[in-house]
């Protein structure tokens, strides 16, 4: 390897003069007053992922205490589990594949519009899971097979890797999430009372000399989770006009639970733009919850954003950053407009 080649590459990574100036201008502006314009297209990257239905196995649904790792993720103490009621579902099912890898589905957390599963992945002894980032794909039968329908697009997220206390060991823990708005049928079918059949598909590591990809799909193991009938959230009908970038839309539905917040925004029907209002890509930055004590909770975890261009309708589901009592919520602010929570 010639170091000169390497240094030539590094030199090419220098910022262009106009790029330097633009960054400096943004640096001098008040924080968040000037957004990075190149980020907009990035957040408009829409991903349609396949959801294939498959067979089953495990299960168990009973009220239980929230796993400490989920409590930590949601910045809460064991007492806050009470807020979730039957939304915490014990699963505790695992399977060791012929390739030596083990998948353990420990617990699920669900409400009307969100479903989060705590999954442990254990590699064969001697395999260090030391990459900074892993993605876990699970198939589920919760969503209708409508991903190819014209005029509907959106993005959805895969999994979140939790803090790895010992990167040198063969063990990682991830959260896998879904929300039911992904396909914007005429009427979204909530998760409450349904049965989720989960099938591990693959684990992907992104930070290695050769990208790690472990295929679990060759072995037909599935895990069934009965989602609770009881819902800890509330639907709120609203009619609040908001300016989404340069587009006028109306917030027509709001849902709030201790773990999620869902919004429906209605715009002009028969929108010819494939991905709808450009301003929607700023939804995360433009939405927050205000609590009775005056504090605010940002909506930085967007589980799903889907846009139906024929209907001119967008649906978004946020996972809250911490478990929150909906009774403590005073309002939700969307694109600068404050919507009171009764």
């Amino acid at each position: 390897m010639d170091p000169r080649e390497l240094n030539h590459l590094f030199e090419q990574m220098s910022p262009a003069p106009d790029q330097e100036e633009a960054m400096f201008a943004r640096l001098q502006a008040p924080e968040k007053a000037v957004k990075n314009p190149s980020r907009r297209w990035k957040k408009s990257v829409f991903v349609l992922t396949a959801a294939a239905a498959m067979a089953l196995a495990c299960a168990a649904a009973a009220f239980s205490a929230l796993d400490p790792r989920l409590l930590s993720f949601f910045q809460r103490t064991p007492q806050d589990t009470e807020l979730l009621g039957a939304g915490v579902v014990a699963v505790d099912q695992s399977h060791t594949y012929e390739n030596g890898w083990t998948i353990s589905v420990r617990q699920a957390l669900a409400d009307r519009y969100s479903f989060t599963v705590l999954v442990e992945v254990t590699a064969p002894e001697g395999t260090a899971l030391d990459q900074a980032e892993y993605l876990l794909d699970l198939d589920s039968d919760l969503l209708p097979e409508l991903e190819d329908r014209d005029g509907i697009g959106g993005f959805r997220y895969g999994s979140t890797m939790l803090e790895d206390e010992d990167p040198a060991d063969n063990h990682i823990t991830l959260l896998w999430d879904r929300s039911p708005t992904s396909y914007l049928k005429a009427e979204t079918e909530p998760f409450t009372g349904r049965t989720a059949v989960l099938t591990p598909v693959r684990l992907t590591g992104r930070e290695t000399v050769q990208n790690l990809e472990i295929d679990f799909s060759q072995e037909a193991w599935t895990c069934t989770v009965d989602l609770p009938e009881e819902d800890s959230g509330t639907e709120i009908s609203v009619r609040q006009a908001v300016l989404v970038g340069e587009d006028e839309m109306e917030v027509t539905q709001l849902y709030l639970s201790p773990i999620s917040c869902a919004l429906t925004l209605q715009g002009e029907e028969h929108d010819s733009r494939m991905w709808g209002p450009v301003g929607l890509s700023s939804l995360m930055e433009e939405t927050f919850l205000t609590l009775a004590d005056g504090s605010t909770l940002p909506m930085s975890r967007l589980l799903d954003l889907t846009y139906n261009s024929d209907a001119g309708q967008a649906e978004a589901v946020f996972q809250l950053e911490r478990i929150t009592d909906p009774e403590q919520a005073v309002s939700v602010t969307v694109f600068g407009e404050t919507i009171p929570v009764p």
């Binding site: 390897m1 010639d2 170091p3 080649e5 390497l6 240094n7 030539h8 590459l9 590094f10 030199e11 090419q12 990574m13 220098s14 910022p15 790029q19 330097e20 960054m23 400096f24 943004r26 640096l27 001098q28 924080e31 990075n36 190149s38 980020r39 990035k42 990257v45 991903v47 992922t49 990459q131 900074a132 980032e133 993605l135 993005f155 959805r156 997220y157 895969g158 999994s159 979140t160 890797m161 999430d177 992907t204 992104r206 930070e207 290695t208 000399v209 050769q210 990208n211 930085s300 975890r301």
Partner: protein, 166 residues
């Protein structure tokens, strides 16, 4: 305890001009795409602005920025937005491409972020392995083994791509 005051605007401008190239290079090298690198570089200087007056020792100032850039990128790599993108191929679509020969970059980009940073600090910035170990808070032995592994992996990958042994 001494109370920090924010960096004066003229000090920030000087610091920015001297170090933006390095900070941005580190951010782009670690995050592999321009929007994230720009955001991370801005955050590093914003944090520097909040931290207080300029340090008397330019090398310490530079070292602080390297570590801050590394930390910011490491946080971003673990950030919700990245870790939840459903389709890994989307990440590839966002990856920066050099204006010239892309082959070397493809092989460098495939290395772990930590090893990419070590190569940069060693070859481009000219730090010794001992200095890099101190900067990154690792033992010199571990650092040398990372550097050696990165060099070896890169050499093998480049040879496999037809770049030939050096």
């Amino acid at each position: 305890m001494e109370k920090h005051t924010a960096l004066a605007p003229e000090e920030l401008a000087g610091l920015y001009r001297r170090h933006i190239k390095m900070v941005y290079q580190i951010c782009l090298l670690m995050l592999k795409n321009v929007p994230d690198a720009e955001d991370a570089a801005q955050t590093v200087f914003r944090k520097r602005l909040e931290r207080g007056p300029a340090l008397q020792d330019p090398e310490r100032e530079k070292a602080w920025l390297i570590v801050a850039a590394r930390n910011e990128c490491r946080d971003q790599l673990k950030h919700w937005w990245r870790t939840r993108r459903a389709d890994p191929e989307e990440l590839d679509r966002l990856t920066w491409q050099p204006p010239e020969e892309a082959g070397v970059w493809e092989q460098v980009a495939a290395l772990p972020a930590r090893e990419r940073l070590i190569l940069y600090l060693y070859y481009y910035q000219g730090y010794s392995t001992g200095e890099i170990a101190q900067l990154l808070g690792e033992s010199p032995g571990t650092l040398r083994s990372h550097l050696s592994r990165a060099r070896k992996a890169l050499k093998l990958r480049l040879e496999a791509e037809g770049y030939g042994p050096s």
